[in-house]
């Protein structure tokens, strides 16, 4: 199972995650990510990893177990 976690102490609401992974991440009224369900569907795992790498604050974590 692959999951997305946000380190809220790092997140600065850049919003790149939502642009790169709109299927899973929307933004709240302040620009912070709202992740739709923690589990990432197999077809989106690669995009999720790219979104995590692109985060300027290194706040997004994609973990597989």
């Amino acid at each position: 199972m692959t999951t997305i976690d946000v380190d809220w102490t790092r997140c600065d609401a850049h919003g790149l995650c939502s642009r790169l992974l709109p299927e899973k991440v929307s933004l709240d009224e302040w620009g912070f990510p709202v992740v739709d369900g923690r589990e990432v569907e197999p077809g989106l795992v690669k995009a999720a990893r790219q979104a995590a790498l692109a985060c300027p604050a290194l706040a997004l974590r994609v973990q597989s177990s």
Binding site: D7, W8, T9, R10, C11, D28, E29, W30, F32
Partner: protein, 413 residues
């Protein structure tokens, strides 16, 4: 706003024989001579004995999370490198029980620390405390006895969020006293980044009593599901004011004479309920009923006063206490406080809907429990105080004098 007197001796009392607060009504501060007469020297038990006893009496942490202490102990390695950490920072502004315990019965707290350290085969003990009088009493207590040479008493200056155990650990280690973003627990990375057995100061006083009395002696008082007593802070229209030692299992109605006013259970991360009803002092049962006991604060405004105005003020304070690390808390709590203020001034149901949407955006989206606890306080106020809010919506006010029972730290209004 009410600022509770910091050390109201007259307001320390109990139902039945006090245990933690034994001797306090007679002597005030229990010094070492009186402590030895009441409790003797600490009874040092082996780790295996303590683990079984903690499980048998179902001792739950007294800082607010009510985590089973036996499980905390089981997760600990032993040896001279590990630490024992007593959290007496008591960041919850409505709570007085920890500073009261440390001020009046410091030796019982120290006994518990020594028992825990012995079981873990270490001598490293740290007590963190915010309140000046409690700090001085603990330091004096360490000087009064010969077995507390290794106890370090540290004064902290951090607020509500800074009192969370992981924030305390960061502060002790020389970092900023805020909760870490990653899931780091004290039993892995605690004091000096080493495994640390950490709990609230009242927890340790119970550990001392348990080691002395044994399981059956300890369980002679309290509920079968949760033996022993608890320290509560009672505020406002309650049967007693101040710090109260109560046997677990006591019906909350005993503490709350009949009144139409709502009740706040658990403090500023707690829950508003319309009445105590059939609730009893049992942490698991209260949690199951949706109103966890938290750090043991039970407050009730006086009938005929405006609760809504007080809820607004506490919500504004909760917003101001965000450590500013996590966006949803930093932006969400002020927005929610504004929503509540607008509803108090007569805003329509669309504003209540906005507040409900924002509550969902705050919950579970932070490094610590501050956003979740604050959402619990605000969300339960919106639900439980619906009749009061309806009056505000129609008239822009309820015309009642503001309730002034919920304390906020000095200098805030």
């Amino acid at each position: 706003m009410t600022v509770l007197a910091d050390h109201p001796t007259a307001s320390v009392a109990s139902i039945g024989e006090p245990r933690l607060l034994a001797g306090v009504a007679e002597h005030g501060r229990v010094d070492h001579t009186q402590h030895l007469r009441l409790h003797g020297t600490p009874v040092l038990r082996r780790r295996s004995w303590l683990a079984t006893a903690l499980e048998d009496v179902n001792l739950l942490g007294r800082g607010g999370a009510a985590f089973p202490v036996a499980a905390k102990l089981a997760a600990m390695p032993a040896g001279s490198h590990v630490s024992v950490l007593l959290n007496g920072s008591e960041g919850e502004p409505a709570s007085r029980k920890d500073r009261t315990l440390m001020t009046y019965a410091p030796h019982l707290v120290i006994d518990g620390a020594i028992v825990a350290a012995h079981a873990l085969d270490t001598r490293r003990i740290t007590i963190v405390v915010h309140d000046a009088t409690a700090h001085d009493s603990l330091v004096r207590a360490c000087d009064e006895r010969t077995d507390a040479g290794d106890v370090r008493v540290v004064r902290t200056h951090d607020g509500f969020v800074g009192g969370e155990i992981r924030a305390v650990v960061n502060g002790l280690n020389g970092d900023r006293a805020v909760p870490p973003g990653r899931r780091v627990l004290p039993h892995e990375h605690g004091v000096d980044r080493r495994p640390t057995f950490a709990s609230n100061v009242e927890t340790f006083a119970h550990v001392a009593l348990l080691a002395r009395l044994g399981t059956s002696g300890y369980a002679r008082v309290g509920a079968t599901t949760e033996p022993g007593t608890s320290l509560l802070t009672l505020i406002g229209d309650t049967s007693h004011h101040g710090v109260f030692e109560v046997p677990n299992g006591t019906p909350l109605s005993v503490l709350l004479p009949p009144s139409p006013a709502p009740v706040l259970i658990g403090g500023y991360h707690g829950v508003w309920v319309r009445s105590a009803g059939q609730l009893v002092l049992d942490r698991a049962a209260l949690r199951a009923a949706g109103s966890p006991l938290g750090a043991g604060v039970i407050a009730r405004p006086h009938a005929g006063t405006c609760v809504v105005s007080e809820v607004v003020r506490v919500a504004q304070w909760l917003a101001s206490e965000s450590a500013g690390q996590c966006g949803p808390c930093f932006f969400g709590l002020p927005a929610l406080a504004d929503d509540l203020a607008a509803l108090a001034a007569g805003a329509g149901p669309e504003r209540a809907d906005a507040a409900l949407r924002r509550l969902a955006l705050v919950r579970g989206r932070g490094a610590c429990s501050h956003p979740d606890g604050s959402a619990l306080f605000i969300g339960s106020a919106l639900e439980t105080l619906a009749p009061e809010l309806a009056i505000h919506q129609h008239h822009g006010t309820c015309g009642l004098p503001p309730s002034t029972v919920l304390p906020l730290p000095k200098g805030l209004s």
